[in-house]
């Protein structure tokens, strides 16, 4: 089942399934490595629904909570 990226806990690994965002921002995220079916690992979620810090292809990438909400992922066990 696909869930929003914001629903993952810290330390979880997931695969990107869908990004419900403007093409403009989607292109930027893709260029930085958030491709469909690529893996990411949630490193940190800032308190009170803050920004998400994740590992994408070995590098830390931070994105706002409101963007992460629109990214659907499938969690890997």
């Amino acid at each position: 089942m696909n869930i929003a990226l914001t629903h993952l806990d810290e330390g979880k690994v997931a695969v990107i399934k869908e990004m419900d965002l403007d093409n403009h921002i989607k292109k930027r995220l893709m260029a930085l490595g958030l491709l469909p079916n690529s893996r990411l690992k949630v490193l940190r979620i800032a308190p009170l629904k803050g920004a998400i810090l994740m590992d994408v292809g070995g590098y830390p990438l931070a994105i706002s909570h409101d963007l992460a909400e629109k990214i659907l992922v499938r969690e890997l066990e």
């Binding site: 093409n23 403009h24 921002i25 989607k26 292109k27 930027r28 995220l29 893709m30 260029a31 930085l32 490595g33 491709l35 469909p36 490193l43 940190r44 800032a46 308190p47 009170l48 629904k49 803050g50 920004a51 810090l53 292809g57 070995g58 590098y59 830390p60 990438l61 931070a62 994105i63 706002s64 909570h65 409101d66 963007l67």
Partner: protein, 642 residues
């Protein structure tokens, strides 16, 4: 012969500014956060007998611009295309570096890649097959270690070879959509001036790049292109099932990842335990108290070191001036000489200690890579205002100097976020205003009050950001944070000292002469009796609103030139002893007014350049209004506590 033009481009944190500095011998600020270079700078360079123009572009991750600085970089590159582009790529961030290489190759300009931070990559356990990378991309790749100057000479040598051979890499991003690109290209060639790369234009049209779309509109060619473009886009969508613009980005990134995996033999070993712990601590919930402690430490250390340096400097100065005791009968001449002497003492003992110690501590922080972590933590609060965490960086820079901070607003996406951030920056006490807080509050009232004033100021800055952010409906234009975090680095004292000097030298060269001349000028006004008239004129207004004597107006006028002048001229006019002329309440009210009342001349000029006149006037108006409200309220409320 036409001068050879070499462009220098690369992602933030790749070491681009370091290479620029090595080649030019100049000093561009190098820091560990995205967006130091926000302007395109050209400079004539001589290296080992070779002359050329070096063009430094703003740091950019991709050539798909999302903020002003990135768009400036791209536009400049198309309109004034250099003969060769040196891409400074980070060996420890191979995927993103190759992504940018692919985009640069698409441009059709000869490029070569400086694979920088090569030593750091080796230390982290990467093994990169440079020759293979060069072979796949079809462009020269040279490993460099910029901070040690390794590989720089070879870079220039290779660049000159490329100028003559004009050898370019081959576009590989287009493999699946070649026929569609060719079809669009044949239409484009009908109207596009020769100096533009038509293949790149075709690709960018599929990518829906707004700059290219605007360019096409300028050439009045939208209609000619529309039919064929729509048709080809539909054909791509049909054959791949993906939107063309996303397909291209996806393709480019996938190719970059594939190449990176092909040329990189080993995966990185884990980083040092200490750095790992620091990284995870500074982004956790403990990060907030840590941020508060870090910031408070910078300010307290600055004020503390400032006090120490001040004692030393004034001790030396007074000791020395004993040898130069003047005994002059002419009252005018003696006033001039004592004015000059006094201003020199005030300048040396107030300005130099604060400015140098602040920039020193701030440079250490800046180099460490901590700031982007703080931006990550603060993102939520910034989203409340309608900005994103990235805005934290220009805001924080504002504590050093408002001018570069306002220029750095270019790293933000959208006009409204830039306006609101610039407004907030003008309210932030820069190093000049820190001198006032230090010289009046820390020395005569106390360190606790000084910190309280910083906190109060922060409260006002956030409040104004919130109010103005709401009223211009910031949210609709502002996108969320997307930021790559640079690795932590141990700051090098030597770099911090260099940076301190480059940021603080204006205070020595520019401010000191004006202070001496201005003080003598004010002394002469005093002798001529003009000060008395000024007082009489403005007394009612200032006493009525702020409970301040009218003569402070002249300090405020000088303060508009440079903020620290407000303190310096107050000191020299009041013979270095403000408490015998002003009450503590009056001193606090005066300080609060100087914090908010107007952006200094340099900041105003920068604002006009960045935001145009109308928005600048709005910012000045808001500043004045805040100063009046805060000054008046403080003059009413503070006496209740004393």
């Amino acid at each position: 012969m036409k001068e050879v033009r070499i462009g220098l481009i690369g992602s933030p944190n790749s070491g681009k500014s370091t290479i620029f500095n090595k080649l030019t011998g100049a000093y561009q600020i190098v820091g560990n956060w995205p967006g130091k270079t926000v302007e395109t700078v050209e400079r004539a360079v001589e290296s080992k007998g070779r002359h050329f123009l070096l063009i430094d572009f703003p740091g950019t991750q991709t050539l798909t611009p999302t903020s002003t600085d990135e768009e400036i970089a791209m536009e400049y590159m198309i309109e004034n295309s250099p003969d060769v582009i040196i891409q400074v790529a980070s060996a420890i961030d191979l995927e993103r570096s190759i992504y940018l290489s692919l985009e640069l190759i698409e441009l059709g300009i000869p490029i070569l890649v400086a694979l920088n931070q090569f030593d750091e990559a080796i230390k982290q356990g990467f093994e990169i097959d440079v020759e293979k990378l060069s072979e796949i991309l079809g462009v020269p790749v040279i490993p460099t270690v910029a901070i040690k100057g390794e590989g720089i000479d070879k870079l220039v040598e290779k660049a000159f070879e490329l100028v003559h051979s004009k050898s370019k890499g081959k576009m590989i991003t287009d493999e699946d959509i070649r026929p569609q690109i060719n079809n669009v290209m044949s239409v484009i060639k009908g109207f596009l001036p020769d100096r533009y790369p038509s293949e790149w234009f075709a690709l960018k049209l599929f990518e829906e790049d707004p700059w290219v779309a605007r360019k096409i509109a300028e050439l009045d060619a939208e209609k000619r292109l529309k039919g064929v473009l729509e048709e080809e886009k539909a054909s791509i969508k049909k054959s791949t099932g993906m939107h063309p613009s996303l397909l291209i980005v996806n393709k480019r990134r996938s190719i970059a990842e594939r190449i990176a995996n092909e040329v990189r033999k080993t995966k990185p070993v884990s980083r040092s335990k200490f750095i790992e712990t620091l990284d995870s601590l500074s982004t956790s919930s403990y990060g907030y108290p840590l941020l508060a402690v870090v910031m408070a430490t910078v300010f307290v250390a600055t004020l503390g070191l400032g006090l120490l340096l001040r004692d030393t400097i004034s001790y030396l100065f007074l000791g020395l001036s004993g040898y130069f005791a003047f005994n002059i009968a002419n009252p005018l001449l003696s006033a001039i000489l004592s004015g000059a002497q006094l201003s020199l003492l005030v300048g040396l003992s107030f300005i130099i200690p604060v400015v140098f110690s602040f920039h020193f501590f701030f440079s250490l922080l800046d180099d460490s890579g901590y700031l982007p972590r703080a931006a990550f933590l603060i993102d939520k609060a910034m989203r409340r205002i309608g900005l994103n965490g990235k805005a934290f960086i220009p805001l924080l820079l504002g504590y050093g100097c408002n001018v570069p901070a306002c220029v750095t607003c270019r790293i933000l996406e959208g006009d409204k976020p830039r306006f609101v951030t610039a407004l907030m920056i003008t309210l932030i006490p820069c190093a000049s205003r820190m001198i006032i807080i230090y010289g009046l509050i820390a020395i005569y009232i106390g360190m606790v009050t000084a910190l309280a004033i910083y906190l109060f100021n922060l409260f006002v800055v956030l409040l104004i950001g919130m109010i103005v952010g709401r009223s211009v409906d910031l949210r609709c234009e502002s996108t969320g944070l997307v930021m790559v975090l640079p690795p932590y680095r141990v700051p090098v004292i030597k770099n911090a000292l260099r940076k301190t000097w480059s940021r603080a030298k204006d205070f020595v060269y520019l401010a000191m002469p004006i202070i001496i001349i201005g003080t003598v000028f004010l002394k002469m006004l005093e002798i001529a009796g003009i000060m008395g008239h000024l007082n009489a004129l403005f007394n009612p207004l200032f006493v009525g609103i702020f409970g301040l004597p009218g003569y402070v107006l002249s300090f405020l006028l000088f303060g508009a030139i440079r903020k620290e002048f407000a303190l310096v001229f107050l000191m020299t006019t009041l013979n270095g002893n403000p408490l015998s002329y002003l009450s503590p309440t009056q001193i606090i009210v005066f300080t609060l007014i100087t914090l908010f009342y107007i952006p200094c001349v340099a900041t105003t000029v920068t604002l006009i350049r960045e935001l145009r006149l109308r928005k600048t006037l709005m910012i000045i108006g808001i500043n004045l209004l805040i100063a009046i409200i805060v000054g008046f309220s403080a003059s009413v409320i503070l006496p209740l506590f004393s």
